[in-house]
Point group: C2
Chain length 485, copies 2
């Protein structure tokens, strides 16, 4: 192993000085990503700006068996970009150019460090936009989005990152430059494009992404409804989907989240409602009008405490402002919060929310629920205070229980935030030994020495064995009265 | 290597007699799939009907290094299910049960041997259907669809097979049973679901598929327009897409295909048109009416020789009958035909069609063009007579030239039919050594002995080297006057 100073000297041989950060006082800016519960000072941070520099860095690391963690904007909520005490933190911040917008083919080719929102902004003059919209879209980069298969409010209608990209240019840990996917409809050979998407930096370093662009819809309408119970709101979600409406967003917030968001954003939310639904419809004007009528018809059959229907773009934005500010809003009322990310089949919404509510009482930790109801993607935010000894550990146990329940009802331990370091133990729960072994074989096919982002996303079999026989895949059903599909 | 008789005896130890076909006269029924230019009598055909039987077969083959080719309905157009002289042909014909239709979650779980159309038929009573619709949907199986990542007319709007499935149950060559993907929104870990989709039987044997179902649209309208030139029809395709209309089908046929189809199906096609466009719109009634107006407005600006607008479901079906019968129609007027399947960026439609037309004259072989114009997926049908010595070889050379051109303009050598044995040489053209090597590493991660479907889909590096330096990826542009995206 090289010391920090040795690495600094070695990298200076083929990188400009301003591409290297090795001073401890500067390194602390990179000690965590958005999962701040985990912190680690990196050994060194590199900022290459050409493909050749990345290839040289990776070849050097490969030859010297040095670990490498790639980093976009560091907005990962699962610790995907947490640095290592020994190894390189490879920042793609200088890969920040939009290379081409092809309006005819509705694609944009951009470097990995381009921000998600910047793509839509650049495409706007052609009447186009990039659909996946994580809450962090002002800051997060497209390379990170691909690495985590990021989602967002619009993914209910338009799919996750994996459904919205066409081609990647990557460098393997051995320094090889590969083009993955194609600019056309389909690509021959194994689907490495999908394989790399969501691989959390474990398989290759992404340098360039060609994304699909969509035409901006002619009309957008947002409906907000306040309910007197969470169960009723969940039932309305199922009814809307069953009516063949595909909203461009269908979000739910519980009372605690409503209050926090309202205090922060003054969006005009009904603070006495047990839950609100926010339903966005987009498309041609006639289509939106028709779908809007269908949704309002459905809502009539519930005891609605409040109903808001946007008439202008400003009103749309106002309704969304509360939801989009929900995370920082919670941040204001609690010293720390832990944002969970699990998926469940929609029909388990009500019992799982009740289970979380019971756990909240048991652990004496408040929970705010903000989630993509339409696709069953939960985001319970557990409120805690890291300065109270033991409270972080208690929070993590609580969170683990929620994820275990997601798996039990046939869901998944991550909807869109990735596994990272945060949920690596729950992977032992989601997958059996054979399945994990297959993941390790895939890793080996790209990175036989295990140098890229070690300790994230895929647990070792040893780790799972130590945790005990946690695997519950196809196990007993927690709610036998609700039929398992 | 075992003889046929030895294999028969060995398999009888753990399979019922009626699960084994080893008599030469019965084996001839399996000597090819829908790519009849390639024929090979299988050594033995097995028809397991339980997961355990498949596991036993594969474990036995693995231990004895016996090759295995999986087969659904044998409708592959690229020879994906071509048997081997030495090895097992594993038929999934007895895996033909629909296990569950979950109308609430809009999913169907079916065994691999269930026919594509049977899924939609079973889901019909819930108002649901399965979107991908290959032309062979009456016969082809969902397992084969997954193996080839099959497409169809509706894929322009609803995506390929890979976008419409959630979970697979597979057995590896080592006999391990794996669950791939999940019933939820997203799955953690590497995306093995997408990796297996389109892997052409090289990675695992698929036994069960959970597909997504869609609500049947309220309204469907089909518009047929006849053009006096292929270039004009291609231009109209671009204009329709540019107008933000996403048809549920946008098909083009040239004069030769129109004439053949009309003679066969009597669909009322304009036999003097140089090309026809068939545009299907689906969705809510208002939406379809609005999109229909937009399409008709666009068509007005062209010299349209014929315009048909469906008023009833029968008229829709009549218009489609010609297109859906186009392949058998060509089969009636030529002793043999060779169906190509390449993709190109839409803007190259006109020059690539002209190039094909020139090649047709050069090789003195007629070509009928039938294709998914909306997504740039070409299906030139080269007409030939296998009984004329050398004509098949000439046809294959012609076909190879078309695929080379697809790659040159930034497209792909397969849109939806797979590589199989047919296009294995063109893979050397599409991918460079590093990219092919990565494919081989993936293969190794699933099937280290190379027992599953050898000789298909991914060429050896040796084969590509023997063919010479064919790789043209990012090479010179054939139409420098058309800007490369």
């Amino acid at each position: 192993m090289y010391t920090r100073d040795e690495l600094n000297t070695l990298f200076q041989k083929f990188l400009p000085k301003d591409a290297i950060v090795a001073a401890v006082e500067e390194l602390s800016a990179f000690e965590c990503d958005a999962l701040t519960a985990y912190k680690q000072l990196p050994q060194i941070v590199l900022f290459p700006e050409t493909v050749e520099q990345v290839q040289k860095i990776l070849r050097f690391c490969y030859q010297n068996k040095i670990h490498v963690v790639s980093r976009g904007a560091g907005t990962s909520l699962s610790g995907g970009a947490l640095p290592l005490a020994e190894g390189v933190l490879l920042s793609l911040a200088k890969f920040n150019r939009i290379l081409k917008i092809d309006a005819d083919n509705r694609t944009a080719s951009v470097q990995a460090g381009v921000r998600n929102l910047a793509i839509s902004q650049a495409a706007s003059k052609y009447g186009l936009y990039y659909a996946p919209d994580p809450s962090s879209q002002i800051a997060c980069t497209i390379g990170g989005n691909v690495a985590e298969n990021a989602g967002g409010v619009h993914c209910l209608k338009y799919g996750l990152t994996t459904h919205n990209i066409l081609e990647l240019k990557v460098v393997t840990v051995e320094g090889e430059f590969l083009t993955i996917g194609s600019q056309g409809l389909d690509s021959s050979g194994y689907d490495l494009l999908a394989l790399l998407t969501g691989s959390e930096g474990l398989l290759a370093v992404i340098l360039e992404v060609t994304v699909k662009l969509l035409p901006k819809p002619d009309a957008v309408q947002v409906i907000l409804a306040g309910f007197d119970s969470v169960v009723q709101a969940g039932s309305a979600v199922a009814a809307i989907i069953a009516a063949n409406v595909t909203p461009s967003g269908l979000e739910m917030m519980d009372n605690y989240a409503i209050r926090a968001a309202e205090e922060f954003a003054h969006a005009g939310y009904p603070v006495d409602a047990a839950a609100i639904l926010i339903c966005e419809l987009d498309g041609a004007s006639d289509e939106v009008a028709e779908e809007s009528n269908t949704v309002l018809e459905i809502l009539k059959s519930y005891n609605i405490l409040e109903l808001q229907i946007s008439k202008t773009e400003e009103q749309c934005l106002l309704i969304w402002s509360g939801r989009k500010g929900a995370f920082p809003a919670i941040g204001r009322i609690a010293p720390d919060y832990y944002c969970m990310d699990g998926t469940i089949p929609r029909k388990y919404l009500a019992p799982v929310l009740e289970y979380i509510s019971n756990l909240s009482a048991e652990y004496n930790l408040k929970v705010a629920n903000v989630f993509h109801a339409g696709d069953g993607n939960l985001h319970p935010l557990i409120l805690y205070d890291a300065n109270i000894p033991g409270e972080l550990e208690k929070t993590e146990k609580f969170g683990a229980k929620i994820l275990e329940m997601c798996v039990k009802v046939g869901g998944s331990i991550t909807g869109e935030h990735g596994v990272g370091v945060e949920k690596i133990n729950q992977m032992c729960l989601q997958f059996n030994t054979l399945e994990l072994e297959q993941f390790h074989r895939i890793k080996h096919a790209f990175d036989s020495l295990g140098l890229l982002n070690p300790g994230k996303a895929i647990p070792t079999l040893h780790r799972c064995a130590e945790l005990g026989a946690m695997h519950v895949h196809n196990g007993e059903l927690p709610f036998p009265d609700i039929e398992r599909f």
